[in-house]
């Protein structure tokens, strides 16, 4: 995943993905704010509900965010590069439908899983080709493919549903690796590490920041901008395919309306995680924290039987607060 820089000597030209750190800066960083918010929510929840501090309950709560977070990692890189993919939830629908078709054709679990992942990749290729190949704006392209992919799922399924997936498929969305640690949680952790390394420790990751800050300058510094963009769309497609496998397994069935509205929740997760919607900055640890925060809030409010609409209002306020806070601190 490294990108060869054809200009040869690049010393001094690398754009740092974070500034030299001082203690005060660390204190004021987005991640610190998020950690404080997460701890506050955790403690508040523990006091408000007697059911919160229970290993199984907390484990159940992780299912609220793991699948969305898988896509959020790839989405974070895409948004840092100044692009966006609004078709991710529709890719889930199409990939899940493809899994259903594979199941109907009599395929076994490995083939069903592969079908889901490959369908995700293919959708990513379509998005990538339209954006990077034809140079179309990603927001327009993916609004289009958002309707296209889900539309295909609707044509195939209509008001029907695929069910009767093989029992072994349930592991991906309902299985536990060890005690309360679910497969999805492990996958979430592994992907977090992979994406952290990819974004913060490779030249590819630096290229992503460079493109997001100034694509033209990046192009002139020898970064193959369109190739990076294409690969990023491939990654969101791939992650949507993987999320489709998990979600289909968790639901044990496929309907064309599966994962409706997830694209906005995923973008919210990314922005809450400190990724600038204008591109150029953000981090994977921030996204991880945002995912955990959203999961804790949803679950905590659920335990108190707070109506969902109040939850949406709270998440909206949280988003605005967390975004406004650093700016307010800077003004001081």
């Amino acid at each position: 995943m490294t990108l060869n820089n054809s200009t040869g000597d690049v010393t001094g030209r690398i754009i740092p993905d974070r500034m030299r750190s001082s203690f005060a800066r660390v204190l004021r960083s987005w991640e610190t704010i998020l950690i404080v918010v997460a701890i506050l929510i955790f403690v508040t929840n523990s006091f408000l509900s007697p059911y919160f501090l229970n290993a199984w309950n907390l484990s159940d709560a992780t299912f609220n965010f793991t699948e969305k977070a898988l896509i959020a990692f790839a989405m974070a890189m895409l948004i840092i590069a100044g692009e966006i993919d609004l078709s991710v939830a529709s890719i889930i629908a199409l990939a899940s439908t493809a899994m259903g078709l594979a199941m109907t054709a009599g395929a076994g679990v490995p083939v069903i899983v592969l079908t889901g992942i490959v369908t995700g990749l293919v959708c990513g290729v379509v998005n990538g080709a339209l954006v990077a190949g034809l140079g179309l704006p990603s927001i327009v392209v993916t609004i289009g493919t958002m309707s296209l992919f889900r539309g295909l799922a609707f044509i195939i399924l209509g008001d029907q549903a695929f069910n009767g997936y093989p029992k072994d498929l349930a592991f991906f969305g309902q299985g536990y690796v060890w005690w309360v640690i679910s497969f999805e949680l492990v996958l979430f952790a592994i992907c977090a590490v992979i994406y952290w390394a990819l974004l913060h420790r490779t030249t590819f990751g630096r290229a992503v920041y460079a493109i997001g800050n100034n694509a033209t300058a990046a192009q002139f510094s020898g970064i193959r901008v369109d190739r990076v963009r294409f690969l990023l769309f491939l990654l969101t497609g791939l992650m949507s395919g993987i999320a489709a496998v998990c979600l289909t397994s968790r639901l044990g069935s496929t309907r064309p309306s599966i994962a409706t509205g997830w694209e906005l929740e995923i973008v919210t997760m990314v922005v809450l995680g400190g990724v600038s919607i204008l591109g150029g900055s953000g981090s994977i640890p921030g996204v991880v924290l945002a995912a955990v925060i959203m999961g804790l809030v949803t679950f905590g409010f659920g335990l108190l039987n707070v109506p969902g609409i109040v939850m949406s209002i709270f998440l909206g306020l949280l988003l605005i607060t967390v975004i406004a806070l650093p700016r307010l601190l800077q003004r001081k």
């Binding site: 523990s46 509900s49 007697p50 059911y51 501090l53 229970n54 199984w56 309950n57 159940d60 709560a61 299912f63 609220n64 549903a161 069910n163 349930a170 969305g173 309902q174 979600l247 968790r250 639901l251 044990g252 069935s253 309907r255 309306s257 599966i258 994962a259 409706t260 509205g261 949803t298 679950f299 659920g302 335990l303 039987n305 109506p307 969902g308 609409i309 939850m311 949406s312």
Partner: protein, 330 residues
């Protein structure tokens, strides 16, 4: 680290204490609906509260997602499992997708039933239908017959010719027709659940059968269009429109007299019955098995079929005496 451990231990003890205290108190029954903010379900919650008040030791948790998605309902059910509710009574957004989560709930000792909109058999202990095809078929004929003491001609205005539900109801209605002497069914026409086509079909019936006494429309679109056609033709009091309709839409027709009475399930009764059944299953007063009869308080009892499904009652009749109360509900 020491402080953290201590805090956690204290919290754990507190948790244990609170859980025990709660268990000694009330039976917690969760009414999970397709989405919050829908009049039909708010009315069902009212019925559930009524049942809770009657039973005394029941706490109702009325909840549901913001929009009608299966994923949203799964999050809600997960939080109910975590709270250790005694029963979950759900009107499902997806018959299949909720099965794994509801199975988990049952594994943890929670009574799970579905009502209104069902869950596949493996994901619930029983399903409560608001009514049955036979009861609906009988009710629509009875509503017409009640206002025709001397008998006469009736016609049916249905949805489309291929509409499964309507066709079954019409079949059932034809079966009970011999029980209503003097009533003759002269025609069945189809308005395709389109307001304008239903209106024209109703006009056609009025023109074709001058002695027509009643139009029966077992569809909410058809009944509304037919009552409009009758009113426009100035035949109020001569031709009665009845069938299945929504109180909010039919209030005007009942007021004008074009429709004397019509029927649809009563959400209040449905919420009440679901709560009563859940309570009886929790308390072990009944088990959900084929042929079992489970008491529903003032609604009588429900008899389960081979698929553990049961019908609550005849559709509820709405007329001038109660339409004002229900028109704001759904």
């Amino acid at each position: 680290m020491g402080i953290l451990k201590k805090a956690l231990a204290t919290a754990a003890v507190a948790t244990a204490l609170m859980v025990n205290a709660a268990a000694a108190e009330n039976v917690k029954i969760a009414i999970v609906v397709k989405a919050l903010g829908i009049g039909f379900f708010e009315a069902a919650a009212k019925g559930a509260e009524e049942a809770a008040a009657e039973l005394g030791d029941v706490e109702i948790i009325y909840t549901g997602p913001t929009d009608t998605t299966a994923e949203g309902q799964i999050e809600v059910v997960n939080s109910l499992i975590a709270q250790g509710v005694n029963a979950i009574a759900i009107s499902a957004n997806d018959k299949d997708a909720l099965v794994p989560t509801l199975q988990k709930a049952m594994e943890r000792g929670i009574t799970v039933i579905s009502w209104d909109s069902g869950v596949a058999p493996e994901g619930r202990q029983m399903h409560l239908n608001p009514s049955s095809n036979a009861l609906i078929g009988n009710t629509i004929i009875k509503l017409a017959a009640d206002n025709m003491p001397d008998g006469g001609e009736v016609a049916i205005l249905s949805a489309s010719a291929t509409a499964t539900n309507q066709n079954i109801w019409i079949e059932e209605a034809k079966k009970v027709l011999p029980n209503y002497p003097g009533i003759t069914l002269v025609d069945v026409v189809y308005g395709d659940d389109l307001a304008d086509k239903s209106y024209r079909e109703a006009q056609g019936l009025i023109a074709k059968y001058p002695n027509l006494k009643a139009i029966i429309a077992p569809t909410t679109v058809g009944i509304l269009a037919a009552s409009q056609a009758v009113a426009d033709a100035g035949l109020i009091g001569k031709v009665n429109v009845t069938g299945l309709g929504l109180p909010s839409e039919m209030a005007g027709a009942v007021e004008s007299g074009a429709t004397v009475s019509f029927a649809i399930w009563n959400p209040i009764d449905l919420g009440y019955a679901a709560t009563m059944i859940s309570y009886n299953l929790i308390k072990g007063n009944a088990t959900a098995a084929p042929d079992a009869e489970i008491s529903m308080g003032r609604m009588g009892s429900v008899k389960l079929d081979a698929m553990n499904e049961g019908a609550m009652s005849d559709p509820f009749t709405y007329d001038a005496s109660n339409i004002a109360d229900f028109k704001s509900i759904f």
